[in-house]
């Protein structure tokens, strides 16, 4: 929800005037270190236990890479992981495009119903996810029923319904992030471009887009994270034949877990961290 690159550059200026404030500096440090430990111990455990030889993943009994090997051969789990990544990717692309367009309309134009639409956009953020998930479940079943009665075609929940739902959930978040970066954008840049002979299209792609790109990337990353992290909406909108990683984990956890779950989580963690670091590197020279 926070564009890290922006806050850091903005705070950099202020720091010169900021004197160290000694409200129990050591207490603060100790509490913070403990909090970071609270945040990281489960993650470290998760990673460590992906190398355990204990078949139930409950103890560290020895080191092995066999879970990664087995994971590779586990069609079901690999399929679920790929599905999850695919859903997150498509949902990120679509919601970033739609969200950016919406943000542009709201920041740049006055139009009738703008205030109402603005308020409406916040609803998906404040409505509990489970309500949204259940309403989508009901909606799809209702709509598919209707379609079957009208055309005789039976549609089922699957990847498409999950993607559609994730996009509906993410758009608002993208809009919030992109709008923040549009608000910090000096509109005279655009006027300067028009003045130099660029039309609206050229101005957008040569000036506006590169300058708000950090915000768009931030919004996209948020959409990707939301989709990757989501369980509730995925759980209710996926269909019987389609497995997604969190749904798969949920059903395995309820029965019997193997450290394969740890292994796949470790891999996903590595992938997403690489993505984040890369995106930061890409953004740096621009800001």
């Amino acid at each position: 929800m926070i564009d890290l690159s922006q806050t850091s550059s903005q705070t950099a200026q202020k720091s010169s005037t900021r004197k160290p404030f000694s409200l129990g500096k050591t207490t603060l440090t100790v509490v913070s270190v403990l909090t970071y430990m609270f945040l990281y111990i489960p993650i470290i455990i998760l990673v460590l236990y992906s190398f355990t030889t204990d078949a139930f993943g409950a103890r560290l009994t020895g080191f092995t890479l066999s879970w990664y090997e087995q994971l590779w051969r586990d069609q079901r789990l690999m399929g679920a992981t790929l599905n999850t990544l695919y859903v997150a990717f498509v949902s990120m692309i679509v919601s970033t495009i739609i969200g950016t367009m919406t943000a542009l309309a709201l920041e740049r134009f006055r139009f009738r119903g703008r205030a109402v639409y603005d308020a409406f956009l916040y609803l998906p953020v404040v409505i509990p996810e489970i309500v949204m998930a259940l309403s989508l479940l009901a909606f799809f079943s209702f709509a598919f029923n209707l379609i079957r009665q009208l055309t005789g075609i039976q549609l089922r929940n699957g990847l498409a319904t999950v993607i559609i739902s994730h996009i509906a959930f993410s758009i608002s978040f993208v809009v919030i992030v992109v709008r923040a970066s549009l608000r910090g954008f000096d509109q005279r840049m655009e006027e300067a471009a028009y003045d130099l002979g660029a039309n609206s299209w050229q101005t957008f792609w040569r000036i506006t887009f590169p300058l708000i790109l950090p915000g768009i990337i931030g919004g996209g990353l948020l959409a990707f994270t939301i989709s990757l992290d989501d369980f509730i909406i995925s759980f209710f909108t996926t269909g019987p034949g389609t497995s997604l990683l969190p749904v798969e984990v949920y059903s395995q956890v309820k029965r019997a877990v193997t450290p394969k779950i740890n292994a796949i989580s470790t891999l996903m963690l590595a992938v997403s961290m690489t993505l984040v670091v890369l995106s930061q590197v890409v953004q740096r020279p621009r800001t």
């Binding site: 840049m189 300067a192 003045d195 002979g197 039309n199």
Partner: protein, 369 residues
């Protein structure tokens, strides 16, 4: 075809809601002219400029550039370029890329772009700065880049909105000189917005003085200063003593008025004034003269002479500024140039000293209110 007129505003009105930011403005700006718009904050200078550039559209009235009606023409199809007050350089492009932008939009061939960019940078004396980013340059340098970016397109008219506003005094003076040099070198029409009267007076061929959305007077710097056509202009440009009164006699060029405090004064008028009308007489402090009571100067024979008493004296280096009080109780500001160099206190006026205030008829300007 266009009789040497670069820009023509014909009865332009621009309103934002209820406010008329620009209120029935008409003016003609000639080819190759350095034209300034001068006025207090909020008087509509920027709005006028933005309408010429095409960022705003008039509510009514007509705007022509080189005889061509602009109507709905968007900014990118107008033969004018703008230098923005805050420069508006593109932060994600180097200086050279910034300058090349307009040419790229016009699809000028690559080799030509390179050449013209280099020439433009030379013109603003930054030939080696092409690879830098705007944030790596000082305010004055950024200002020059903004200028080069506009000039490289060879616009017929260049619009400058307080381009020197953000620079310090010394740099400002330097850039004023540079701007003037470039304008003369290229012969482009400059429309220059400022609220610094000195800047407008030194640089312009003609000045339009604006207030509250209206153009009050258009003229050369000398005309504006020496023959202001209303009290606002006389007050806004330079300083003035204003004396209200009623016309007692008039013969076209000259008129005699009786002031509100019972003095009789003679002054010069541009337009004939009718007897009995109320007017205001403007007297520039540097054009009033002060002489000793017993000296026998020729000034005593001038039409306007009044006994006065020196009330306050402030020495400010080049001038001495004196406030005198007339018998009627009215105070008048007088500036005397310090032409002699002396430490002798008696060489200057002393508070309480009696004096004779005088001014020639030509210097007492009668303005209709």
């Amino acid at each position: 075809m266009n009789d040497g007129i670069a820009i023509e505003l014909d009865d332009i009105v621009k309103s934002f809601g209820d406010v008329n930011a620009v209120d029935h403005v008409s003016m003609q700006i000639r080819d190759g002219e350095f034209f300034s718009m001068l006025g207090p904050s909020g008087c509509g200078k920027t709005t006028t400029l933005r309408m010429i550039a095409g960022f705003e559209f008039p509510t009514s009235g007509r705007l022509k550039i080189h005889g061509k009606e602009m109507g709905n023409t968007p900014p990118y199809r107008r033969p004018v370029n703008t230098v923005f007050q805050s420069y508006a350089l593109f932060p994600h492009m180097t200086v050279a890329q910034n300058v090349a932008f307009g040419l790229e939009m016009k699809r000028v061939p690559k080799e030509q772009i390179k050449e013209r960019v280099q020439k433009a940078l030379e013109l603003v004396r930054l030939p080696t700065f092409g690879d830098r980013y705007p944030r790596q340059m000082s305010g004055g340098q950024q200002q020059r880049v903004a200028l080069a970016r506009a000039l490289v397109n060879e616009p017929e008219v260049l619009l400058l909105d307080e381009p020197l506003g953000a620079l310090d005094q010394k740099l400002r003076k330097e850039m004023q000189f540079e701007l003037k040099r470039i304008q003369e070198e290229l012969g482009i029409t400059f429309i220059f917005v400022t609220h610094d009267q000195e800047e407008a007076l030194t640089m312009s061929d003609r000045i339009a003085v604006m207030n509250a959305g209206r153009v009050l007077q258009i003229g050369t710097p000398t005309e504006i200063y020496e023959r202001p056509n209303c009290r606002f202009v006389a007050d806004f440009i330079g300083e003035s003593n204003f004396i209200e009164g009623t016309v007692r006699a008039s013969n076209g060029q000259y008129a005699t008025i009786e002031t509100s405090d019972g003095l009789e004064m003679q002054g010069y008028t541009e337009q004939p004034v009718s007897v009995g009308s109320s007017v205001v007489l403007s007297l520039r402090p540097e054009k009033a003269r002060l002489s000793t009571v017993n000296g026998n100067n020729s000034q005593k024979h001038e039409a306007n002479t009044f006994p006065a008493k020196v009330e306050r004296v402030s020495y400010i280096g080049s001038d001495t500024r004196i406030i005198v009080r007339l018998a009627s109780g009215r105070t008048i500001d007088v500036w005397e140039q310090n032409t002699r160099s002396t430490l002798d206190r008696d060489a200057y006026w002393q508070p309480g000293e009696a004096a004779i205030l005088s001014c020639s008829v030509e210097n007492a300007l009668i303005l209709t209110s």
